[in-house]
């Protein structure tokens, strides 16, 4: 499946701005972004529930949307699992799963639907009505219903956001298992970075209707192309620096200048592993303003000379830092961006 330069605007608001994506057979792609970034609009366009203003969408090489063509959702062979599950309240669980199996005859449709229900462990709920199901059960029925017609692509819109934290992890693992067993290609939309990392083969980062970057979780974590992409997968600390000659001067020490970075102001993004805390004398001296016990680790708020705000770092829980610590950078773990990135960011 491929999405090419697709845009969608509602009045003046631009929901999607030139998005391009591909999805390989059997691949699970996560679309990660804050609410309102356009990720749900993207799903609706792929499903055919909405039409793009520009660009083209192809499934198995056949164009389904764009260039004046619009294949209606019922003819696209795309499955969609809704955030609120959208189970038909007037139909039993079995009838819900059979709803998309109209092409099969009665007995065969029933057999396939029961098989799908068994796969998600709900064969015994076949005659129940959706109103009597728990949140986790409803989620699994929705999954079975969406998978039953064997869609060429399955779209999942925040499929776990309505579950409480306890059941979420288990249901998520089960869902991935079912998807892998079915060999389905899937696009999963989420605002939860940990979920995207755990579930997906690749992650597409979206922000304000644009695609920031698309790649494996490791690529996005180790070499994000912008500060915004860097922020998407886990907390970072941002400091400013100045590139002169072969080096970069920052309040936390100097770094070598990567060749792609020009001279002048730069932005340095630090993941926790890029900051090393040591005894006084190693690196810049910093005063501990506050320490917070957080179970498995210890959080420190540090005042660093030359930095206009305090710095939050995390240490192992058994660390026993003194009131003054030394702070330095791990050069090959830092992420350096030219000042142009600041403009992109806004």
């Amino acid at each position: 499946m491929a999405v090419e330069a697709v845009s969608r605007r509602y009045g003046r608001a631009v929901a999607l701005n030139g998005i391009s994506l591909t999805l390989d057979a059997g691949e699970i792609l996560a679309v990660l972004g804050d609410s309102g970034c356009g990720k749900s609009t993207l799903l609706r366009l792929i499903a055919g529930l909405d039409e793009p203003d520009a660009g083209e969408i192809r499934i198995d090489g056949h164009p389904v949307a764009g260039r004046g063509r619009s294949v209606p959702p019922e003819a696209r062979g795309v499955g969609l699992m809704f955030q609120d599950y959208a189970l038909f309240p007037h139909l039993t669980v079995l009838a819900n799963v059979r709803f998309g199996l109209r092409r099969l005859d009665r007995a065969e449709g029933r057999r396939v639907a029961l098989e799908r229900l068994a796969e998600v462990g709900l064969a015994d709920k076949a005659e129940c009505y959706p109103g009597t199901l728990s949140g986790g059960e409803a989620q699994r029925v929705a999954l079975a219903r969406a998978l039953a017609p064997r869609p060429r692509v399955l779209l999942l819109d925040e499929p776990f956001s309505n579950l409480d934290a306890g059941t979420r992890d288990r249901v998520r693992a089960d869902t991935v298992l079912v998807l892998r067993q079915a060999g389905a290609s899937a696009i999963l939309v989420t605002h939860d970075a940990a979920e995207a990392v755990e579930v997906a083969d690749r992650i597409a980062l979206m922000r304000r209707g644009r695609l920031l970057q698309c790649g494996t979780a490791e690529t996005l974590y180790r070499s994000p192309e912008s500060p915004a992409a860097a922020r998407a997968l886990g907390a970072i600390v941002e400091i400013s620096g100045h590139a002169v000659g072969g080096g970069i001067e920052t309040p936390l020490g100097s770094l070598p200048r990567p060749s792609r970075i020009g001279e002048g102001a730069v932005r340095v993004c630090l993941r926790p592993e890029a900051i090393r805390i040591g005894p006084v004398g190693e690196g810049r001296p910093s005063r501990v303003l506050r320490r917070t016990f957080a179970g498995s680790n210890l959080r420190l708020e540090l005042a660093v000379e030359g930095l206009d705000r305090s710095l939050l770092v995390t240490l192992p829980a058994d660390a026993e830092p003194t009131d003054i610590v030394g702070i330095s950078l791990v050069a090959d773990r830092t992420l350096v961006f030219g000042d142009r990135a600041r403009a992109d960011d806004a």
Partner: protein, 543 residues
């Protein structure tokens, strides 16, 4: 897809053209006859009709606002024995069409009727000439009658608004030291403005549509003049010209209503009711409250309906059931059922239009569908004549036979007229029912392989059927009660309950029509019961 969509568009355009045709043909007809008739109308008919109509609308407007908000406040802000009963009973006048109330009161207030005879007996007077009451057959009489029947249109939304939104705000006003009176005037009334405007607008539309009450009481409003000009003087262009003037008045009314709402919408349902604790009244004040609140119920329902029961009973005991009654009731049910079917099917398609045709064109369809209701029955009938004649000759040319299904003076024409006028009732109910279904539900059906029509039939309709049913019931009752459109479009020699009543009143043989009037009130009670049931459900949900 594109073929289905093209078909949908063609159907939508045809429907829109049909719905717009009365207005266009009114204009054409009016322009047609300008030369000879306009000066006469402008000089002798219109000034008086416009003045009377304006006076009726102004008086009825003030009366329904006073009665409607007053009673709504009474049952929302105070607790007294009988309040729950009063709460429901205040809706009862909705069941009585204006012409039935006028019919009952003319008999009740007749010099030899029960009220005047009773008063004379009490005062020991012998002759009707010794006790002269102001004549009901006058402009003030008409205003009083219409006001006491139409106030529930204001009572219902205003009360709902008090119950839904006012709770904490009214409590805040009380905590800041405002007494009940000050709270009503400074907080509750301004808060209720959108609801009051909405209800008053509906009540005035009804008043404008009324042909029976005004004519029985000798008030020559615009509606009466349209009817008289057409039926008595056979002057269609003249009727069209008056009708156009009326339509302008309707536009003015709609504009005023929008203005009074101040751009604020009125959320009518779906919110939870939450009212602050009512102030408890005891002793004399409780009795006074009950009597005050009971007065509109007495005047608008108990007296006329009770009188109809008594006179119908006397007539039946004396001479048996009128033999025509059964046939007339059959006609009423037949035409109303056919027209209800039409409005429900068309209403379903129009309410689903945003999903079938796209949001914006769908919304436009819904607004066009509301047009029929904005047109008083006489205006719609006059406007439909030319399109019906065109349809007639078109069919004759097509089939070579003059026998057409919806030609003038056929049952088809009447059903079509009913359908157009009350389309918005079923559209509104269906739209509300469909809107309550989350958008993802029909989307899910689409993604699972059903087309838009199949989705409507297998998913949306089964979920929205209570709304469809109540829409059908409301439309059926409105149609069964309708008088002016029936008078003008019915086939020759076909009498319905409402036209029968009109005929008896015109002849002055009141008691013969009592049974028919009673049947109409019975039909009218159906939606009132429905409203009360919905209300009670809301109460249960709260508990």
């Amino acid at each position: 897809m594109s073929a289905a969509r093209g078909l949908g568009w063609a159907a939508a355009l045809a429907l829109a053209a049909l719905l717009l045709s009365p207005v266009l043909s009114l204009m054409a007809t009016a322009v047609d006859g300008t030369g000879e008739l306009w000066p006469h109308l402008a000089a002798y008919v219109l000034p008086q009709a416009i003045r009377d109509t304006a006076l009726v609308l102004g008086g009825v407007g003030l009366l329904v606002i006073g009665l409607g908000t007053g009673t709504a406040w009474l049952v929302s802000a105070f607790e007294f024995p009988g309040r729950r009963w009063l709460d429901a009973a205040l809706l009862l006048p909705l069941a009585v069409p204006t012409y039935v109330v006028a019919y009952a009161y003319l008999d009740l207030m007749h010099p030899l009727g029960p009220i005047q005879s009773g008063l004379r007996a009490m005062l020991g007077l012998a002759s009707p000439r010794d006790l002269v009451l102001p004549d009901l057959r006058s402009l003030p009489g008409c205003i009083l009658l219409l006001g006491f029947v139409l106030y529930p249109y204001v009572y219902l939304p205003t009360r709902a608004l008090f119950l839904m939104r006012a709770g904490s705000l009214l409590e805040a006003a009380r905590m800041l030291g405002a007494g009940p009176g000050r709270t009503f005037l400074r907080v509750a009334l301004p808060l209720a403005r959108p609801a009051v405007a909405l209800g008053t607008g509906l009540a005035l539309m009804e008043a404008l549509n009324d042909v029976g009450a005004a004519e029985f009481l000798g008030v020559r409003t615009l509606t009466v003049q349209v009817y008289a000009t057409w039926v008595n003087r056979s002057d269609l262009p003249g009727a069209a010209q008056i009708a156009l003037v009326m339509l302008t008045g309707v536009l003015l009314l709609v504009g005023l209503e929008r203005l009074a709402r101040g751009g604020r919408g009125f959320a009518g349902s779906g919110q939870r009711e939450r009212m602050s604790a009512r102030r408890r009244l005891r002793g004399g004040r409780a009795i006074a409250a009950l009597m005050l609140g009971g007065l509109p119920v007495l005047a608008g329902f108990l007296l006329p309906a009770g009188h109809l029961v008594v006179s119908a009973w006397q007539r039946i005991r004396g001479a048996g059931l009128p033999d025509t009654l059964l046939a007339e009731a059959g006609n009423t049910v037949l035409y109303a059922s056919a027209a209800t079917l039409l409005t429900v099917v068309a209403g379903l398609l129009i309410a689903a239009a945003p999903g079938l045709l796209g949001r914006r064109s769908g919304a436009a369809m819904i607004r066009i569908a509301a047009l029929g209701y904005a047109m008083p029955g006489t205006v719609l009938a006059v406007g439909l004549l030319t399109p019906l004649a065109l349809l007639d000759s078109g069919m004759a040319a097509l089939t070579g036979s003059p026998l057409a299904l919806v030609g003038l003076g056929t049952g088809g024409a009447l059903v079509l007229g009913y359908g157009m006028r009350f389309l918005t009732v079923s559209v509104g109910a269906t739209e509300a029912g469909l809107a309550r279904i989350p958008r993802t539900i029909p989307d899910a059906a689409r993604v699972l392989g059903r087309g838009p029509i199949a989705t409507l039939l297998t998913v949306q309709m089964p979920l929205a059927w209570p709304a469809l049913l109540s829409g059908a019931l409301l439309a059926f009752v409105d149609i069964a009660k309708e008088l002016p459109l029936t008078l003008l479009l019915r086939p020759l020699n076909v009498e319905t309950l409402s036209t029968h009543l009109y005929g008896e009143a015109a002849r002055g043989t009141y008691e013969d029509g009592a049974a028919a009037a009673l049947l109409i009130v019975g039909i009218g009670l159906l939606p009132v019961i429905l409203l009360l049931r919905l209300d009670r459900d809301a109460v249960f949900r709260r508990g």
